[in-house]
């Protein structure tokens, strides 16, 4: 559902901008940019993102899912959340 995906994206972007980039300038966060490359997340930052996703979307993230393909960009995070919600 595109509208739902858009809202996941908006919430994820808002969270990262506000809590990891401390910015309201959306241009600082391209959806396909590697969060690790840009220094936006690190080992504790990724845990903050996971806690946010679990709370905001009612999903459960396993340690074995903490991979770059699930968390290294806004797009990857949105796809991961969508997949989790569709199996829930």
């Amino acid at each position: 559902m595109p509208t739902e995906a858009a809202s996941v994206e908006a919430r994820v972007r808002h969270y990262i901008l506000e809590n990891l980039l401390f910015s309201d300038d959306g241009s600082e966060l391209p959806n396909d940019a590697s969060l690790l490359d840009r220094g936006i997340i690190d080992s504790t930052g990724v845990l903050e993102v996971v806690m946010f996703l679990e709370e905001a979307f009612g999903i459960r993230v396993k340690a074995s899912e903490m991979l770059p393909e699930n968390f290294d960009s806004v797009n990857n995070i949105v796809r991961f959340v969508e997949r989790q919600r569709s199996v829930a």
């Binding site: 690790l36 220094g39 690190d42 930052g45 845990l47 340690a63």
Partner: protein, 521 residues
């Protein structure tokens, strides 16, 4: 290595030996993102880059900045600089533009080696530094005087003549946070680093068949030494960019059968938390090491569930001498809370602030004596004199750590506290003054004070107390956003308290102690 007669005097001699030995040359030196590179490839690339550095003006003793992520080019660069006769200077890739500029100027680096993906930080510095040569890996914006790492190392001729380097020459400048707010370059020679690597190898009981994990930044001396030790041994480094994606690190540990796991308390806390959700077990790991901040005994013992075959080492050190002490892993239960004794070939003793002896069981300031002690701080004889004190022999200098320890009757050391205000967060040293300077640079901030507060995951979290100028409205989020532009992410305060004024001491200085006392938790 029974066939060797010549002693190793320089850090890179081991690489030359492995490259010249037909068996060892084929062994894997490093695995990066799952790709293995042999000692022959490492030596070839390093000699080509060394040749290129020489062509670009690097001479014996010159500094070369390595501002890179944990990548294959970074692993090559460290040895290339040494082969060319230079001293490498590691810069954490999270470093922002202004601080990088300071370090380039302070060190007088002739060449900057970096990654394209952090070009936005180094590009603004180039115009004012036309003599600085830049070589970058990966993709970077066109239209600048930047050379591509791959082109330089593939096309360039290997270094023809070896450098005339001798053991007391500078091998590395390792910048560390200081209480003055500006980072200072710790000078280490080939002699001090080769000695330290050998001492660590000895007490960790490492051999040539190790697969050593490194997910700590190579820019951090704890990470750097994993690579230096691997090359001394002819062993394999399994290099990961970070612990941000633990599942990836775990998969790589299994695939490449990692035997040595170096971590810091934040990483061990995360491992134990993941283990509670989905049990983890790495029976192939035979050594687990901790340093940078104290590992609680209870956590150390629980790590045995994850690493059932491993010797667990609690250690303590500082960049100024690499490592001070370690606890023999067999004594983990017998000596709770202790970080053990001096590393092989060195000694430690406690002194009172007046310089007198300290009886067993009482707190004193730890002093370190041995060939691993730094030469001093680059360009800072004043700060060097504070740390390096006269030793027992005429002209000798020992390292005064300024950290308080107790020593029991058997000579085991117990950390008591620091005598400065340095914050330890996630195992990184953070100068409160450096964070305060960044806060003071924000428009609308009248004054600020910064201190560490206890935090379960980070060890210490950074809290800032900020007084705004009259009529200014800045939110904690806006203040943190400004800090992000100047500070490495781990230095940005997690907590910001806006207040009307800061408490002062009788002499008018802001009192961090009073701030910590007046606020709960």
């Amino acid at each position: 290595m029974k066939d060797r007669i010549a002693p190793r005097r320089l850090l890179h001699e081991a690489l030359l030996e492995h490259g010249a030995d037909p068996v060892r040359a084929r062994r894997t030196a490093v695995v990066v993102e799952g790709q293995a590179y042999s000692y022959a490839e490492l030596l070839d690339r390093a000699l080509r880059l060394a040749g290129a550095l020489r062509q670009r003006g690097v001479q014996r003793g010159d500094r070369v900045a390595i501002y890179m992520d944990n990548t294959w080019p970074c692993a090559v660069a460290i040895f290339a600089v040494l082969l060319a006769g230079g001293a490498f200077m590691m810069v954490n890739p999270l470093t922002k533009s202004d601080k990088l500029g300071y370090m380039l100027d302070d060190s007088g680096a002739r060449v900057l080696l970096s990654d394209g993906h952090i070009a936005q930080e180094f590009l603004p510095l180039l115009a004012a530094r036309p003599a600085l040569r830049v070589i970058a890996s990966g993709k970077f914006p066109e239209g600048h005087a930047i050379e591509a790492f791959d082109v330089v190392t593939a096309a360039g001729a290997p270094l023809a003549a070896p450098s005339a380097t001798i053991a007391p020459d500078l091998a590395a400048l390792i910048y560390t946070s200081g209480s003055t707010g500006q980072p200072k370059g710790v000078m280490h020679t080939h002699q001090s680093m080769l000695f330290a690597a050998g001492s660590l190898i000895e007490y960790l009981r490492l051999g040539p068949d190790e697969r050593i994990l490194c997910a700590l930044p190579l820019a951090f001396d704890y990470g750097l030494y994993q690579w230096l030790m691997a090359v001394q041994l002819g062993a394999t480094l399994v290099l990961e960019r970070s612990f941000a994606f633990p599942a990836q690190v775990f998969a790589r540990m299994r695939e490449f059968e990692v035997t040595v796991f170096p971590g810091v308390p934040t990483i061990f806390a995360m491992l134990l938390s993941a283990h509670r959700g989905e049990p983890l077990c790495f029976p192939g790991v035979t050594r687990v090491t901790n340093t940078a901040a104290a590992l609680p005994d209870e956590q150390a013992l629980r790590l045995r569930e994850i690493f059932p075959q491993a010797l667990i080492y609690k250690m303590y050190g500082l960049t100024e001498c690499k490592r001070v002490c370690y606890l023999e892993p067999e004594l983990l239960e017998a000596k709770p809370g202790s970080v053990g004794k001096a590393i092989p070939g060195t000694e430690v003793y406690l002194r009172s602030p007046a310089g007198g002896p300290v009886p067993p069981g009482e707190a004193g300031i730890l002093h370190v004596r041995g060939p691993h002690v730094m030469l001093g701080y680059w360009n800072r004889p004043d700060l060097s004199a504070q740390m390096l004190r006269p030793g027992p022999l005429p002209g000798e200098r020992v390292l005064c750590t300024h950290d308080w320890f107790r020593m029991d009757a058997e000579g085991f050391l117990y950390f008591v506290g620091r005598s400065d205000d340095i914050i330890k967060t996630r195992g990184e040293k953070v100068s409160p003054v450096e964070v305060e300077n960044a806060l003071h640079a924000i428009d609308g901030v009248h004054e600020a004070a910064v201190a560490g507060v206890p935090d379960e995951l980070l060890g210490q979290a950074i809290r800032a107390w900020v007084v705004l100028q009259p009529g200014v409205a800045l939110s904690p989020g806006q203040i943190r956003a400004q800090c992000m532009k100047r500070l490495e992410n781990f230095m940005v305060p997690q907590q910001i308290v806006i207040c009307a004024e800061l408490p002062r001491t009788a002499t008018g200085k802001v009192s961090r102690k009073a701030l910590l006392e007046q606020l709960p938790g």
